[in-house]
């Protein structure tokens, strides 16, 4: 197992100041998010909830450095994402962040094992194969290493995605509606697995969801309405 990279003694792993996002539309500028100020401590689990179009996924994208804000800043583990270029942000994502998406987002041309190895290889970590296989075994897919996403069920694909997210032992895990595409039983199984892995790795979890039951499993809930923290 590889050691986690972040400093556990540091209090805030994510800090935002006056974070805002405005897009241009035919009718003029449209504010999607404004004045978001957050301090998220390492190891916390936070659910971001809100109605469709409230700006949840936009906030997640900005926190993860997948998009740039119009105003304000995002600092992760002492590194100001908003001051970095795209390649700098990509390096931070590889080092500190894991993702789980609603639509699984596995690369269709790669096998389950290759999908999980991918972030390790991008980070230049040796023994990627062994680490990935161990984790796939941990999520119950040790017998399906060479299967491509097309040959796996939705639940299995999401388990591969979980293995891929945790394989680098990230400091932060961003999950965007991770059960949105699954039936309730499979979804429940995935959520259990997610929280188990989160606990094992002491990862900071930031979860976007519509599901109040799921939100309740997190230590803290952020409610977004019309682009602002409610």
């Amino acid at each position: 197992m590889i050691p986690t990279q972040h400093d556990k003694n540091q209090n805030s792993i994510i800090t935002t100041e006056n974070l805002g996002k405005t897009v241009k539309t035919a009718e003029g500028p449209l504010s999607i998010l404004s004045d978001i100020n957050l301090q998220i401590k390492a190891g916390e689990s936070i659910a971001i909830i809100g109605e469709s179009g409230s700006g949840k996924s936009t906030l997640l994208g900005l926190l993860a450095g997948l998009d740039l804000p119009t105003t304000g800043s995002v600092v992760i583990d002492g590194k100001e994402l908003t001051a970095m270029d795209e390649d700098g942000r990509a390096a931070v994502r590889n080092e500190l962040i894991g993702f789980v998406f609603q639509a699984f987002q596995l690369l269709p041309g790669l096998t389950a094992l290759e999908n999980v190895m991918l972030p390790l290889e991008l980070g230049g970590i040796k023994q990627a194969g062994k680490l990935a296989a161990d984790l796939l075994d941990r999520v119950g897919l040790g017998h399906r290493l060479t299967h491509t996403p097309r040959q796996l069920s939705g639940g299995e694909q999401q388990r591969v995605a979980l293995a891929r997210a945790f394989v680098t032992r990230p400091a932060i895990l961003f999950a965007d509606e991770p059960t949105g595409n699954l039936d309730s039983k499979t979804g429940q199984h995935i959520i259990d697995l997610l929280f188990e892995l989160n606990l094992e790795n002491s990862t900071t979890l930031i979860l976007v969801t519509h599901d109040p039951h799921l939100a309740q499993r997190c230590r803290c809930t952020l409610n977004i309405a019309a682009g602002r923290l409610a």
């Binding site: 996924s57 936009t58 997640l60 994208g61 993860a64 997948l66 998009d67 740039l68 795209e86 390649d87 990509a90 390096a91 994502r93 590889n94 080092e95 962040i97 993702f99 998406f101 609603q102 639509a103 987002q105 690369l107 269709p108 041309g109 790669l110 991918l118 972030p119 290889e121 991008l122 980070g123 996403p149 097309r150 891929r164 965007d176 509606e177």
Partner: protein, 828 residues
């Protein structure tokens, strides 16, 4: 009606969203290319045919040994054809106690219907161009008539019983016949004076030429009407047969233009197929929704086909317009080279472009489009449910069928078309197998590669089927481009070799043996480069293995023409340059009674090695045995012979000599001296003919170059279409990779490696295929000599790797730049 509205609305929305841009561009290029080339080739062909007609002095000529029936002329009149007539005969002229056998040509008022005559008042000085023959009472003569008969301009020359005033020296007549060796000096007079000469009596040896000109349709109709009515001794003159040097160039150029059209169609077709595939894939989701809402498979098919029909018409009309402007621009660029009188662009060619455009569009777009009707409605729930691909037989069958039709149209030969298609199909299968082999090799090497290379290679090996298709598509495009380029170069080289700067522009004939040595020395003294001096004996082939030749030859064949007149017979100890032995052996020792016969004539007369041929010279008959068969080129403007005998065979017959040489403008005064010093020799000037021929070749070269640029443009469109076709998947994967931490440099490198490898494989296979096709093409269609091209083996794979690699790098650069948040948005 609602459906049409829906189809139009969807088409309009797709168009506005940029979904159709690439497809429309590919279609417009295909139609522009087809229309421009069809229009250009058709117009150039008609212009060149008209120009070539100058060499016949008409569009159609009947050569006859007697007057043609009045009904024929009436038929020509009904078809609104213009007609002229020339009568040729030999006559002995006597002036100032000198005798000279002259070739007299009496021409009617309309002569020449095409082309022009050149006359001058002073020998070998600048001539003026005129478009009618001499007026009644006047005569125009060769310079040699004046020197031989000691006459000057303004003197009287008596032809038969009619005295005529010599008003000009004739330096050029368009339809001088190719039988160079028996040429007597020319006397041209008006047909109105012919009766008064009283030369033509029953039984006189006279030859009539009836010339016609008019619209292509009327000439075609007249030609069709005439053919079954021709009797022995009458035949239609044809530019391809009667001017072999010009005919060969025209035939090759026509085939090249046709080939270029097929190349552009094929390349643009690949672009259309690729762009439609992307269109189709991008509409899977929308189609699934439509099917959920109750659309049947037939509704779906109708919806997309009607959209494509609208798109096809839009693209075809725009393509036709662009094609029109492009051919106008081409003719504008070439205006200095082309004759002043250009044929008008043919509306039929535009219509052909439009119809061909729609046919090309559907032949290449239909297979990927048909996939849409197979989209399952279940796809609304499971996005990974992809419709079955269209059957390979339909994909290739439609495309190959259409290309076959085009090839058939241009070669007009079913066997040739089928062998090209069969060869192409076999080549495609071999190509696909080779690509699979290469990909397998690449896959095996993956574990040993670093991550960048591994991802680059895996980009190819992940989806072998798609990679094979893409590499084969690039290969076909490259093959097409290479073919255009290589054939063009070899064709031009071949023409240049055929007519180098020092191509002979003069022939000297009727040189007596006692003049030969001195004349040869004179040429040497003035450093004039010429061919050998060949002895010439005039004789006629009478029997083959004791069977009279007239029983063997078929009507209107080369054999008939060669045996109906005296041939120039020669002898030689060595094989003349440009001649090749195709069967038998050239004589080693001087053994008389052997003959070497020209290949085509041998084929025509069915003569083989060991056959006994009998000839008459004057009243004497002699035999010779065929010991070799030679192939040679008639289009080199050097003395060529059907029959060459072993030395000694013709010794006891009187002979003259013939030679040809290149005389620069500055040395032309020498001709005057020689005509005076070597009495009796004939000077035949082919300068004007040569210049006109070179000008036609220059036009063709330019035209061919522009066509090549067009093929290249189409090739680049394919490249771009193919790169863009995979863009959606690449954007998604790129965004995901960046989400997981991949840097932009990494993404760019892997993409460059993947595309460069695609290009390299395609280039490697293209060179193998091109060389095979060029070999077959040269042997079967263009009749050129094949030699392997080592530079191609180096340049094509490397060039293709660089080109495809860079295009890929540039074409998908947004993959590395797009914000990865898009992935999350899609998931929302």
């Amino acid at each position: 009606m609602n459906r049409i509205v829906l189809a139009s609305r969807l088409l309009f929305r797709d168009g506005r969203a940029g979904e159709l841009t690439l497809l429309l561009v590919a279609l417009v290029i295909a139609v522009t290319g087809t229309t421009a080339i069809t229009l250009f080739a058709d117009r150039l062909h008609r212009t060149m045919t008209a120009q070539a007609a100058d060499f016949l002095a008409a569009d159609l000529v009947i050569s006859s040994s007697q007057k043609i029936p009045r009904a024929w002329l009436e038929k020509a009149g009904q078809l609104h054809l213009k007609s002229a007539e020339s009568t040729e005969f030999s006559s002995v002229l006597i002036e100032n106690d000198e005798l000279l056998l002259a070739g007299v040509k009496a021409v009617s008022a309309n002569y020449p219907l095409r082309g022009f005559l050149k006359i001058t008042g002073t020998a070998f000085k600048a001539a003026q161009t005129v478009h009618a023959g001499p007026a009644g009472g006047e005569v125009w003569v060769d310079q040699r008539i004046l020197s031989m008969l000691r006459l000057k301009i303004g003197d009287t020359l008596t032809v038969g019983e009619k005295a005529l005033i010599i008003s000009h020296i004739l330096t050029y007549e368009p339809d001088k016949k190719g039988n160079l060796y028996s040429l007597s000096p020319r006397v041209m007079m008006s047909a109105s004076d012919l009766a008064a000469t009283r030369v033509i009596q029953p039984g006189s040896h006279v030859h009539y030429f009836f010339q016609f000109s008019g619209s292509a349709d009327a000439i075609g109709a007249f030609n069709h009407w005439l053919k079954p009515r021709l009797e022995p001794g009458q035949r239609l003159l044809d530019i391809h047969e009667d001017r072999p040097e010009l005919g060969t160039a025209l035939t090759r150029a026509e085939r090249y233009l046709g080939l270029s059209s097929v190349v552009v169609i094929l390349i643009a077709g690949v672009a259309i197929a690729t762009a439609t595939r992307r269109y189709s894939e991008r509409h899977f989701n929308a189609t699934a929704v439509l099917r959920c809402l109750g659309c049947t498979r037939r509704d779906i098919l109708w919806l997309y086909i009607s959209q494509f029909l609208l798109l096809g018409m839009l693209g075809s009309i725009s393509g036709c317009l662009f094609g029109w402007f492009i051919q106008e621009a081409l003719f504008h660029l070439l205006q200095n080279l082309l004759p002043g009188q250009l044929a008008k662009p043919g509306l039929l060619a535009v219509f052909f472009g439009f119809v061909a455009g729609l046919a090309i569009f559907f032949a290449f777009a239909l297979p990927p489009l048909l996939r849409l009707q197979r989209v399952s409605p279940l796809r609304v729930l499971r996005r990974d449910l992809e419709p079955l691909p269209t059957g390979a037989w339909l994909v290739y069958g439609l495309a190959v069928g259409l290309i076959g039709l085009f090839i058939w149209r241009y070669t007009d030969n079913l066997t040739q078309t089928l062998s090209i298609l069969g060869g192409g199909a076999i080549a495609l299968c071999i190509l696909s197998l080779l690509v699979r082999g290469l990909l397998l090799l690449a896959e095996k090497s993956v574990p040993r590669l670093n991550i960048t290379w591994r991802f680059g290679v895996q980009g190819l090996t992940r989806n072998t089927g798609a990679s094979v298709n893409q590499i084969v598509a690039f290969s076909v495009t490259l093959v097409a481009m290479t073919l255009s380029f290589t054939v063009r170069n070899d064709l031009l080289d071949n023409w240049r070799q055929q007519l180098p700067e020092d191509t002979p522009n003069y022939f000297l004939l009727n040189i007596f043996p006692d003049q030969q040595a001195s004349l040869q020395q004179a040429l040497l003294n003035h450093k004039i480069k010429g061919s050998r001096f060949y002895p010439v004996v005039r004789g006629r082939l009478v029997t083959i293995n004791d069977t009279p030749v007239q029983r063997i030859v078929s009507k209107d064949s080369q054999g008939e023409r060669a045996t109906h007149r005296d041939l120039s017979l020669t002898w030689s100890a060595s094989l003349p340059e440009d001649n090749r032995i195709s069967a038998g052996q050239w004589w080693r020792a001087a053994q008389t009674g052997q003959v070497s016969i020209e290949q085509q004539l041998a084929d025509n007369l069915n003569v083989g090695l060991g056959d006994k041929l009998a000839f008459t010279v004057g009243s004497e008959q002699f035999d010779a045995t065929v010991t070799s068969i030679r192939s040679l080129r008639w289009d080199t403007l050097k003395p060529n012979f059907y029959m060459i005998f072993s030395p000694g065979t013709l010794d006891h017959f009187a002979n003259t000599f013939i030679t040809s040489f290149y005389l620069p403008e500055a040395q032309k005064y020498l001709l005057n001296d020689w005509v005076k010093s070597y009495r009796g020799i004939t000077v035949l000037e082919v300068d004007a003919l040569l210049k006109q021929f070179k000008s036609i070749l220059a036009q063709l070269t330019e035209a061919i170059d522009y066509l090549l640029y067009f093929a290249l443009l189409a090739g680049f469109t394919v490249l771009f279409a193919a790169v863009r076709a995979s863009l959606d998947q690449r954007l998604h994967e790129g965004a995901l990779m960046r989400t997981l931490g991949a840097g932009r440099t990494f993404l760019r490198q892997t993409q460059f490696i993947e595309f460069a490898l695609t290009g390299f494989c395609a280039g490697l296979l293209a060179v193998v295929l091109s060389e095979s096709i060029i070999f077959a093409l040269y042997r079967q269609v263009l009749e050129l000599t094949y030699s392997p091209n080592p530079i191609l083996w180096l340049v094509l794979p490397i060039g293709s790797a660089a080109l495809v690699g860079l295009s890929g790098y540039w074409g998908v650069k947004e993959v590395a730049n797009r914000a990865p948040l898009a992935v999350l948005r899609e998931a929302e």
